[in-house]
């Protein structure tokens, strides 16, 4: 199995390497050169100033708690949701499935602002309600705190974790759990000793992806962290580049290098922890029976818990958003606010040619980008999971390279790179940049789906005279459909609301939604912002519904 794959592996390394190394190399140049571009004289000064900053230590500590907490929250919630949704007969599954990926579609900035409106200590809506209900003197919650940041970022990362864990859950061989129950373990114990450990690759993948995303996240640290005076790496970098008019991204890149290093270490750790891939094979092709667990008595309580959580954590912020788009300016809900509601912001946005253009561009980028991205991801995930040679390891690390950089610097890296190509200022630059940066969104769910396909299923296809490509097309890909759907959804919704790269690379004619949203936010136009944000959610939901339906049509395992 070794020789035949080295060609494919090398080709993929070349493609992925080209996509991800180029901007990173530009950033390395930038961090080592004088001046504001990547082509100045060599200097180490940027590293020295960046790393001798006495504030760095506290920033790193905050970052660790923020990122670790958010990733844990996201993964735990995703596990809970995915387990109930996929393995049990909880009612209204389809709705919960959609709900758990809604935060993926909301611009992070808006989601954070919604939470501020809900939980700020002065007049947060939820705080006011609780204060009244329990006649408290002080607001019970303060969103401007580390736990607040962890909560909101955790919710924002929930879809990533969910979309990685759900397919793994779906292809879990139930007899592994059944035998545990026969062995006298309760459902809970079975979950902790059998289900979760067997799902370890997916769980780790989800966690690590969330960690890396958390490191790059800017919306939550700036909207919630800054007012709470809690600085994490992203806001530290922002502060570093924005103090003064000549923003020095080279210096930010210098700090980014250590984030990159940390990410690469995490990826290797992940590979090490899941190295015995056959320990996690769950579809063997023998007596494989996906079984739905009947919840019986705990059905209603669990349904209520799930419903309550979804409502508080996800639906409420969206409702707040909707509300914001209807009132003329930010105001606490009241009879007066109700009387002032109108569609003014919606009409303005719908009459704004740039907003409409950006809607169109984002839709294009979402659909085409995610499709191309997923094709590349299938090959990469295949090599990463099934070949597992040293070069496969290199490939995996490469795929994370540009993803691992904090958002506010990687865009500049791509600008420094694309400006040297004829693609600069075209929609293709955005497309390639998106795919290169968010490749892990495609690779992760696919590789955790790959892990679970028993080798025999592929091998018997080879024996049946099918070439590797035919095997991929007829056996592997159909079995991967849940992973493909997840990856596509992750990529498409990401691309629809992508900001970090777009804000640098988009030009007149190639405006995209997130950039338009950023403009509204810079002007403080929350109403229009919310209206456009909801349209964005609408576009994403449409894409998600569409691909989920297509996925169902091609569902691999009839149940």
């Amino acid at each position: 199995m070794t020789g035949r794959h080295s060609g494919l592996t090398l080709l993929l390394i070349a493609i992925v390497g080209f996509l991800t190394i180029c901007p990173v190399i530009m950033l390395i140049f930038g961090s080592l050169s004088e001046g504001l571009t990547a082509s100045g004289k060599f200097t180490l000064a940027k590293y020295i100033t960046a790393y001798t900053d006495p504030a760095l230590l506290e920033v790193i500590w905050n970052t660790v708690i923020f990122v670790g907490g958010a990733a844990t929250t996201a993964t735990a919630l995703a596990l809970f949701l995915a387990y109930l949704n996929i393995r049990t007969d909880i009612p209204f599954k389809f709705i919960f499935g959609i709900i758990s990926i809604i935060p993926m579609m909301i611009p992070h900035l808006l989601f954070s602002v919604s939470w501020v409106l809900l939980l700020n200590p002065s007049n947060g809506i939820l705080n006011l309600i609780l204060q009244q209900a329990f006649s408290l003197h002080h607001a019970p919650f303060n969103i401007y705190s580390l736990p607040g940041m962890v909560l909101v970022e955790g919710l924002l990362d929930l879809p990533i974790a969910y979309l990685i864990i759900a397919p793994a859950m779906a292809s879990f061989d139930a007899s592994l759990e059944e035998s545990s129950r026969v062995c006298g373990a309760s459902t809970a114990k079975t979950i902790f000793r059998i289900t979760l450990p067997v799902l370890r690759p997916a769980i780790l993948a989800a966690f690590i992806l969330c960690v890396i995303r958390g490191l790059a996240s800017f919306a939550v640290p700036s909207v919630i962290g800054m007012p709470g005076r809690i600085y994490v790496l992203a806001t530290h970098l922002y502060q570093m580049v924005s103090t003064g008019f000549a923003a020095d991204y080279g210096k930010a890149a210098a700090v980014g290098m250590s984030v990159l290093l940390a990410s690469i270490i995490l990826i290797y750790l992940y590979r090490y922890l899941t190295s015995a891939s056959d320990r996690f094979v769950t579809i063997a092709g023998r007596g494989y029976k996906p079984t739905i667990i009947k919840l019986q008595r705990s059905k209603i309580p669990l349904f209520l818990i799930l419903g309550f959580l979804s409502f508080i954590l996800i639906i409420l912020p969206v409702v707040v958003l909707f509300y914001t788009s209807l009132v003329p300016y930010s105001m606490v809900p009241s009879m007066r606010a109700l009387s002032m509601m109108g569609l003014k912001h919606w009409i303005e946005v719908l009459n704004d040619p740039i907003s409409l253009l950006s809607l169109k561009n984002s839709l294009f980028l979402g659909v085409v980008g995610a499709t191309l991205g997923i094709v590349l991801s299938i090959f990469v995930a295949y090599v990463i999971v099934k070949v597992r040679s040293r070069s496969a390891g290199i490939l995996e690390s490469l795929s994370f390279l540009s993803f691992s950089f904090p958002g506010i610097v990687i865009g500049v890296g791509f600008m420094w790179f694309f400006v040297r190509t004829p693609l600069y200022a075209t929609v293709w630059a955005l497309l390639i940049g998106y795919i290169a940066t968010y490749l892990p969104y495609g690779i992760r769910p696919l590789s955790s789906a790959f892990v679970q396909i028993h080798d025999h299923l592929e091998e018997s296809s080879l024996v049946a005279g099918a070439s590797y490509l035919t095997t991929l097309r007829r056996i592997v890909i159909p079995l991967l459909v849940p992973g493909i759907v997840s990856g596509w959804v992750l990529m498409a919704t990401m691309f629809v609301r992508e900001l970090s790269l777009s804000v640098v690379l988009s030009r007149p004619g190639t405006e995209v939604l997130a950039v338009q949203i950023l403009r509204f936010s810079e002007d403080g136009l929350w109403g229009k912002l919310s209206a456009l944000g909801i349209m964005m959610i609408g576009v994403s939901t449409l894409l998600v519904l569409l691909v989920t339906l297509i996925g169902r049509w091609f569902r691999p395992v009839d149940r």
Binding site: S222, T243, S330
Partner: protein, 303 residues
């Protein structure tokens, strides 16, 4: 063939002017908006790679000066500039407005008698936990503005520092830039803030008003513009700049966007603004800003 002009700017909400320009000249105006934080690196990068598409560039004065230093800006004095005060023309760079900063408050929550009459009033303990402002450790315009207070308002450094201490003791909420400052004031999360009076126009009918400080000036960084030395459409660029500086365009800017413009006799539709004294802040070099940023970090106990 110059049917197009490309305008790089950090000023916002200027689509009406672009449209009006196209209508009156038949040249299509393309507006590329770049945030201040990315302005210099974007323009420099494109310039070095010979990919700079801008014909006309607009940015805060310090940015434009740095661009000029690198040869990105070709001096141009528009005939329209003659109507402007002399100090607005800086060797081919034209100033046309001031990004003015002031004290903004929620007129439904702040009783008229409580509205500050002097900047010093912000240090009054009654505002504790009620103030919002951009982060004085990193937000360049806010830093400049605080320095502006020191140089133009306060009698002594001592007094100024007292004021800062009082302000810090009120534990203002810091946000990343001016953009997020009005929302908490509108919604009542905070009552007062250091922000831009133009929001009173753009965010109408929000209950915002500005504190008419008595005998104290409003201050801000000048907005400047110039023509790119490698402009792909040099003629159109000039036409654009001429149009931009015309009274028509400036009136649009003032009325629609609430900008404080330097065209004589044009004022934003904000009550009392025609009487206000609005002055530009001295230009600060980047390292000076950074140094003050560090200083404010300590004063405001940001870490």
């Amino acid at each position: 063939a110059e049917d197009k002009v490309s305008f790089y700017a950090n000023i916002t909400a200027i689509e009406p002017i672009m449209d009006a320009f196209s209508k009156s000249t038949g040249i299509k105006g393309e507006y590329t908006r770049i945030s201040t934080a990315k302005f210099l690196s974007t323009v420099f990068t494109e310039f070095e790679a010979n990919k700079l598409m801008a014909d006309v560039i607009q940015a805060p004065l310090p940015v434009l000066e740095m661009l000029k230093e690198k040869g990105v800006i070709a001096p141009y004095v528009s005939p329209e500039a003659a109507k402007y005060p002399e100090w607005t023309n800086k060797n081919g760079i034209q100033l046309f407005g001031i990004e003015y900063v002031g004290i903004i408050y929620n007129r439904e929550l702040v009783k008229p008698e409580d509205v500050p009459k002097r900047y010093q009033d912000l240090a009054d303990p009654k505002w504790k936990d009620k103030i919002v402002m951009a982060n004085p450790a990193s937000h360049a315009t806010t830093i400049c503005w605080l320095i502006g207070l020191r140089e133009n308002v306060f009698a002594s450094d001592q007094e100024w520092r007292e004021f800062l201490k009082g302000l810090a003791a009120n534990r203002p909420m810091f946000v990343a830039s001016f953009g997020p400052t009005p929302a908490p004031i509108e919604s009542g999360e905070k009552q007062i803030g250091i922000s831009m009076p133009k929001y009173i126009v753009t965010k109408a009918p929000a209950p915002l008003d500005w504190a008419r400080v008595e005998n104290q000036p409003l201050m801000g960084t000048p907005r400047a513009m110039g023509i790119s030395s490698k402009a792909p459409h040099p003629q159109a660029a000039k036409k654009f700049m001429d149009y931009w500086l015309s009274k028509d365009a400036m009136t649009l800017l003032a009325n629609d966007v609430g900008e404080y413009v330097l065209a004589p006799g044009v004022f934003p539709p904000i009550a009392g603004m025609d009487k206000a004294q609005v002055i530009p802040i001295r230009e600060l070099a980047d390292d000076e800003i950074a140094r003050w940023g560090e200083e404010f970090k300590k004063i405001f106990a940001i870490r």
